[in-house]
Symmetry: C2
Subunit: 428 residues, 2 copies
C-alpha cells in the first residue's frame, strides 16, 4: 500500500478528538494514517474518538457560536481545532426547509423537512466528505487528491483541490452527464474517463493505489475513506441542530455505497451519547433506484448479504452496483425499525417535478429517489406520516438536466404581441 510509506505528520491534535482507526468487523485498532482495511481481517476501518466530556450545554453553545459551515462541529470531527483557518471550500450548514406544501401532497402530518444539500459549494453533499478527506491529506503530506466518482465527487474533489493548492486527478465513467463532466474538468485538474461502470472505475483506483504510481496520492474514497466518511456525520448534526437540538422520527437517505446512511446513524448516536439531544427512537430509511437496488432487494428478501447488480438507472449518482456498506445499511434499517425501498426512473422524474412544483427545490435524480421513496413508503404503510420526517436532497437538478429536460419545456413560443399571447391560449 504505497500511501502508507508517506511520512505522516499526524499528531494528537491534527485529528482533534479522533483517537485511532478501528476495524468495524473485529475491533482491531490502528494509528491515524492513510489506511482503509484491517490488516487482521480486511474489514473496513473507521475513525474512533475520545469525544468531549462535560456539560452538553457548554458544547452546544460552542457549536452554535462556530462558523456557518461544518467546522462548527470540529470538536466532533477528525480535524484540527484551527481547521476553519485553512483553505477549504467550507461546505455545510445547508438549509433544512420546512416542506408544508409537499407534506400536504404526500399526507405527512407530523412535519416534513428537506435537508437541501444542493446549497453546498459544488452543489452536492460530497463537499462535506471531501472537506474532511482533504484535511487528512494535508496532515499526511499527500500532494495529489484523487477519487473514483459517479460525477458529484469529481466536481467536489476538483474544486476543493484547486482552492487548497493540491494537484488533482479524478476518475469517472466515460458516459457521465455532460454537466458533471464539464464541472469536474473546469477546475483545471486531470480528469480521466474510464471505459466501464463506476464499479470498474473503483476497481481501477484500488489497483492504482497499490502501484508505485499512487505514491503521495490521497484517494478520498479509498485510502482516505475512513476520514472522508466522517463528513456525512455533519448531516446528522445539522438536522438535529436545525430542528432545535432534537431527533426527527424518520430520515429518508439515498443509498449509493451506503456510507452516508451509516454515518448519519453514527452521528445521531454520538449526539445522544453526548447529551446534545434527548434519546428517543428514530427510524432510518434507505432509498434506491429500482435500476440499482441491491440493498433494497436484500432488505425485502430478508437477506443479510447484498448481491451485486449491474446498474441501469437515470440516478447515476446512486448507481453503485456493489455497495461497500450495504450490509451495515441493512443492519441499521432493521435495528431502527426503518426500511429500504426503491422507485423506478419514471417515479424518480415525477418526484423531482413534485418537489420543484411544491417547494421550489430543483433536486438531482438522487433527490427524486428519496422523495419518490418517501411517497412509496407512506403509500405502503412502511413510514408513519404522523412522525416528523426529514428527507435528504443530496444534489442539484442542474447536474442531471437530462432527466427532466424532455418534459420541462416552454409552454409556448410566440412572437412578442398580445395577439400571439391570446392565440396561444395563455391569457387565462
Amino acid at each position: 500500500m504505497a500511501a502508507q510509506t508517506v511520512a505522516s505528520a499526524s499528531t494528537d491534535s491534527a485529528f482533534g478528538p479522533a483517537s485511532a482507526l478501528s476495524c468495524r468487523e473485529c475491533g482491531e485498532r490502528f494509528p491515524l494514517e492513510p489506511l482503509f482495511a484491517c490488516e487482521a481481517c480486511f474489514g473496513p476501518l473507521e475513525v474512533a474518538y475520545d469525544l468531549p466530556s462535560g456539560d452538553p450545554e457548554t458544547l452546544r453553545k460552542r457549536i452554535e457560536s462556530g462558523p456557518n459551515n461544518i467546522w462548527r462541529y470540529a470538536p466532533l470531527l477528525p480535524v484540527p481545532a484551527d481547521v476553519a483557518s485553512k483553505p477549504n471550500l467550507n461546505p455545510g450548514f445547508t438549509k433544512l426547509v420546512k416542506a408544508d406544501n409537499l407534506a400536504r401532497e404526500l399526507g405527512v402530518t407530523g412535519g416534513l423537512h428537506i435537508k437541501d444539500d444542493s446549497g453546498n459549494p459544488t452543489h452536492s453533499f460530497k463537499d462535506r466528505v471531501v472537506a474532511i478527506a482533504l484535511e487528512a491529506a494535508r496532515t499526511f503530506g499527500l500532494t495529489t487528491l484523487s477519487c473514483s466518482s459517479t460525477g458529484n465527487l469529481a466536481g467536489a474533489v476538483g474544486a476543493a483541490a484547486a482552492r487548497a493548492g493540491f494537484r488533482s486527478c479524478v476518475f469517472i465513467p466515460h458516459d457521465l452527464e455532460e454537466g458533471k463532466v464539464v464541472m469536474a474538468a473546469v477546475y483545471g485538474g486531470e480528469l480521466v474517463g474510464i471505459e466501464g461502470t463506476y464499479d470498474d472505475v473503483n476497481r481501477f483506483c484500488s489497483e492504482l493505489i497499490g502501484d508505485p504510481i499512487g505514491e503521495g496520492w490521497g484517494f478520498v474514497n479509498v485510502n482516505l475513506r475512513p476520514y472522508y466518511g466522517e463528513g456525512s456525520k455533519t448531516l446528522a448534526y445539522e438536522i438535529c441542530e436545525q430542528l432545535g437540538w432534537r431527533l426527527p422520527d424518520n430520515i429518508v437517505i439515498p443509498i449509493a455505497s451506503g456510507s452516508q446512511l451509516t454515518k448519519i446513524d453514527k452521528g445521531l448516536r454520538e449526539l445522544i451519547a453526548l447529551g446534545l439531544v434527548e434519546e428517543k427512537p428514530y427510524r432510518i430509511y434507505g432509498a434506491q433506484a429500482e435500476g440499482c437496488s441491491p440493498v433494497s432487494t436484500a432488505f425485502k428478501a430478508g437477506h443479510d448479504v447484498v448481491r451485486p447488480q449491474k446498474p441501469n438507472t437515470i440516478a447515476k449518482s446512486l448507481a453503485i452496483g456493489n455497495p461497500a456498506d450495504g450490509p451495515y445499511v441493512l443492519d441499521i434499517a432493521r435495528r431502527t425499525g426503518g426500511a429500504v425501498e426503491d422507485v423506478n426512473d419514471e417515479q424518480v422524474v415525477d418526484a423531482i417535478k413534485l418537489l420543484a412544483r411544491t417547494e421550489g427545490i430543483f433536486a438531482e435524480t438522487a433527490g427524486g429517489v428519496t422523495v419518490g421513496v418517501l411517497r412509496k413508503l407512506i403509500e405502503t404503510g412502511q413510514l408513519d406520516p404522523a412522525g416528523e420526517t426529514v428527507v435528504l436532497n443530496t444534489g442539484d437538478g442542474l447536474k442531471t438536466l437530462d432527466a427532466v429536460a424532455p418534459t420541462s419545456r416552454p409552454t409556448a413560443t410566440i412572437r412578442p404581441s398580445l395577439d400571439a399571447f391570446r392565440a396561444a391560449g395563455l391569457a387565462g
Copy 2:
C-alpha cells in the same frame, strides 16, 4: 395601468421601514403600491425609508442575531417584521470567499474577496430581488408572479412562486441556454419563449401590464420593480457585515440593467448613514461584456447618456442592450472614482477558468465578466491593487456550461488498466 386597480392591502407595517415610493428624477412621492413610473415626469420610482434611528450597536446586534438569510436585514427592507415566517426561498447570506490564490495571480495585495451568489437557492443573485418582490405581491393581493428574464430570473421566479403558492408566468427569449430553460420550466409554472431579444421580451411585458390580461399580475421587474430592486441592497449589507462591519475599497459589479449596481451603492450609503460602518471613500466599478457594453462605451466616451446596443455575447444574463439604470451607473462610477470596463467573450471564458482553477468557484459567464474586468482594471491602472477589493459572482457555472464546455473535457479516456494509464502519459 391595470395593476393599480388591484386593491392594496398595504398598511404601515406591511412594508416595514419603507415610507413611500419616490421619483428618482423629480422627487415626487407616491404611496407604496404597484407603481413603477412617476406620474409627473415618468422617472423611475424607488422605495424611500424612515430608517431606524438610535444606537448602531443595538441595530448591529439585532441583525447579527437574525436568520442566516436576507431577512436578518428586515429592519432595512420594505418587508413586514415577521417576513421570515412566510413561505419564501430565504436567499442570501452567501459566502464571501477570501480569494488569496486569485489575488496572487492578479497582483491584488490589499485583500481580494469573491461574493459568491451561486450559493443562493436557485444559484443566482436573482433570488434576493424576487424574495422582496414576492412579499410585495403578497401584500398587494396579486396572484400571478411574472417577469421578463434572460434566464436566471425565470428560475428564481418559478421557484419562489411555487413555494409561496403563486401562479407564475415567465417570459424569456426563445434562444436561452438549455439549463436555464429547463430550470425555469421544472417548477411547473407557465414559461413563454418570445421570438426576439431580451429587450423585445421586456417591451412585450410592458404592453401586457397595460392590458386587462395583466390584471392581478405582479411583474417582479416591471410593476414591482421598486420593491424588487431593493433586494440588491442586501449584497452591500452582507459584504460589509462579512468584512466585520467595514466598507471595502473597491467593488466590481456586473451591469445588466444597472439596477444591482445602483442599489449596492444605496445600501452602502445607508450603512454609513446608520452608523453601522465607518465612512470612508469606496470605488464602484461596473463590468460589461464587450458584445453588450452600452454603459462602458458611454463611460469611456465621457457621455451622460447611454446609447442602446444590439447584444452579441456569451454573457446572456448581462445582455441588456438598453439598460434602464445606465445613466445612474455612470453617475456612481464617476462620483466614487470607479470606472466601467468591458471584456470580450474569450476573456470571459479565461476568467471563468481562472476563478475555478484558483478558488474552486465555478462562475456563470457574468462572473467571468467581473473577474475578467477586474484583471483588466488592474492591468490598465484603473483599480488600485493595494485596496481591499470585492468582486461579485452573481450566478452559477452550471447554467452556462456552453461557455466552457468546449475547453473543459476529460484529459483522457482509457480502459481501466495501469498500462492504459501509463500509455496516456498520466503516471506523472
